[in-house]
């Protein structure tokens, strides 16, 4: 821990990633899988779980090895470890469900370059004992999965009228195809961020003076 920084309680450590430093909504990291696979809630959750698995595994290993690995090669080591766990999860998903595997496609392997994971390894796991590191990783991973799910759910509801494959609006629902297309991904994530910004700005300044408008 950096001296001077307040030691977080275990709960805070866990909540850090879920809420305050949510990788999707606050840090906006690892966007590629977030947008690419979030066309349905199932895909989004699967991706979230896969990422969580890699995050936990690599965090554990990095944390365990934190005193052994020389500084010069630490990044190389982290990448190696992450790539290992990604390969493992790749096979696991294939074994569990080929349909999910096909749906997630290359983005499973692209978890390797997800900045959230490398960022956690570098910023947290390499400086903390396994217990705390895992706690933090769990928070981040769950936060990431929640973010993914939030986007996937919106896209599936509007894009197919379903959630987890269950029709919500009856057979005549007109799907908003754009939601499962690339622009829809950008728009939905953008809209979520807007919503958070808006809530934050309201919280920060309940009676905000009118911003400089061109007409004045």
């Amino acid at each position: 821990m950096i001296p001077g920084q307040k030691q977080l309680s275990n709960l805070e450590e866990l909540l850090e990633g879920i809420w305050k430093q949510n990788p999707v909504f606050v840090m906006v990291l690892g966007m590629c899988p977030v947008l690419a696979v979030s066309v349905s809630a199932v895909n989004a959750l699967s991706m979230g779980l896969a990422t969580l698995f890699v995050l936990l595994g690599s965090t554990l290993l990095v944390s365990l090895l934190r005193n052994v690995v020389p500084r010069e090669v630490r990044i190389a080591t982290y990448i190696l470890i992450i790539a290992t766990f990604v390969t493992v999860v790749d096979y696991l998903i294939q074994a569990i469900s080929l349909a999910v595997y096909d749906a997630l496609g290359a983005f499973i392997q692209l978890i390797v370059v997800n900045c959230v994971i490398l960022g956690r390894a570098e910023a947290h796991a390499s400086k903390n004992p396994p217990g705390r590191a895992l706690l933090n990783a769990l928070g981040m991973g769950v936060g990431f999965a929640i973010g993914l799910f939030a986007i996937g759910a919106v896209r599936e509801i509007l894009g197919a009228g379903k959630l987890f494959g269950f029709a919500l609006f009856g057979p005549d629902f007109q799907p908003w195809v754009i939601m499962v297309l690339p622009p829809g991904g950008f728009f939905v994530l953008g809209a979520w961020l807007l919503l958070f910004n808006w809530l934050n700005s309201r919280k920060a300044a309940p009676v905000k003076p009118v911003e400089g408008h061109a007409h004045v």
Partner: protein
């Protein structure tokens, strides 16, 4: 992240230590990967076999087992390690009695937004294509996906003529996509109005594949009919069938229609959408 962040005063680690550590990490990682690979091997293979069978049975009803072959200029061989140059992969489906129910092969062509891959069933008796299924595509949902929901379109593939020409070098009549309502010959495909690009991709994919496959295949049909006993399951890692590692999956990486309307059960929902498809006539 990079070396710049290391304070210059920090004593550098001796290379031996670095190599030792890296070696240690690499060993751990290697063990992990190999364990995972070995551990999932069977399950993955089973999954893939299931997926292949499901896809092939869909286009060849009544079949109960599938075998993979590679058809090349040198003849027909059970599928082994990869597909040699100039050869085509073929799936032979057999019924419970072990007699040949039909053959299936893959055709692919660039569609509206990406490659459309279809699996088509070939009936050697009729010299015709008797069914198609979509392997992967990223066409516009609501328009492009009519190729597996539009009953009228699928009717094209009940008996699509692919008779070989007299010299057995090519099809007597190339498979052709014609405008909606313009089908006059058995080798023509009546396109879906409004989804012409996708339909053309299907026709093109089938035509290209059939033009290549059938002349190679016909001389060796007997070999397949015999149901020559092959290994029960081909080695999955070496030659994954249908979902040849990632092919379907990678291409559908981003927003894909496939996830909303998985192609595995393509014909089941045809009824509900067929009327709508007509309505979209444009």
């Amino acid at each position: 992240m990079n070396a710049a962040s290391v304070p210059p005063s920090q004593p550098s680690t001796p290379s031996a230590a670095m190599i030792r550590t890296l070696g240690l990490v690499a060993t751990v990682c290697g063990i992990l990967i190999v364990t995972a690979y070995e551990g999932t091997l069977e399950a993955v293979a089973a999954n893939k076999k299931l997926a292949l069978e499901r896809a092939v049975f869909k286009v060849i009803p009544g079949a109960s087992s599938v075998k993979e072959f590679v058809v090349g200029p040198t003849g027909v061989q059970p599928a082994g390690n990869g597909v040699p140059e100039g050869a085509v992969k073929l799936y032979a489906a057999y019924d419970q009695a072990g007699s040949l129910k039909g053959l299936a092969a893959e055709g692919a062509a660039k569609g509206y937004s990406d490659t459309v891959r279809v699996l088509y069933a070939y009936d050697p008796e009729k010299q015709a294509i008797t069914g198609i299924g979509v392997v992967s595509m990223r066409e516009t949902p609501g328009i492009g996906d009519k190729i597996y929901t539009d009953a009228a379109f699928l009717k094209n593939f009940e008996a699509l003529d692919v008779t070989l020409s007299a010299d057995l070098k090519s099809l007597a009549n190339a498979v052709k996509v014609v405008k909606h309502g313009g089908k006059q010959n058995p080798w023509e495909i009546d396109a879906i109005a409004g989804a012409t690009v996708t339909c053309k991709a299907v026709g093109k994919g089938i035509n290209e594949s059939a033009q290549k496959l059938l002349p190679l295949l016909l001389p060796h049909l007997d070999k397949l009919k015999a149901g020559e006993p092959a290994r029960p399951t081909p080695h999955p890692a070496a030659s994954p069938p249908l979902s040849k590692r990632g092919q379907g999956g990678f291409d559908s990486g981003s927003a894909s229609s496939q996830r909303l309307n998985p192609p595995q059960p393509p014909f089941e929902k045809g009824g509900s959408r067929a009327s709508h498809a007509e309505g979209a006539a444009s």
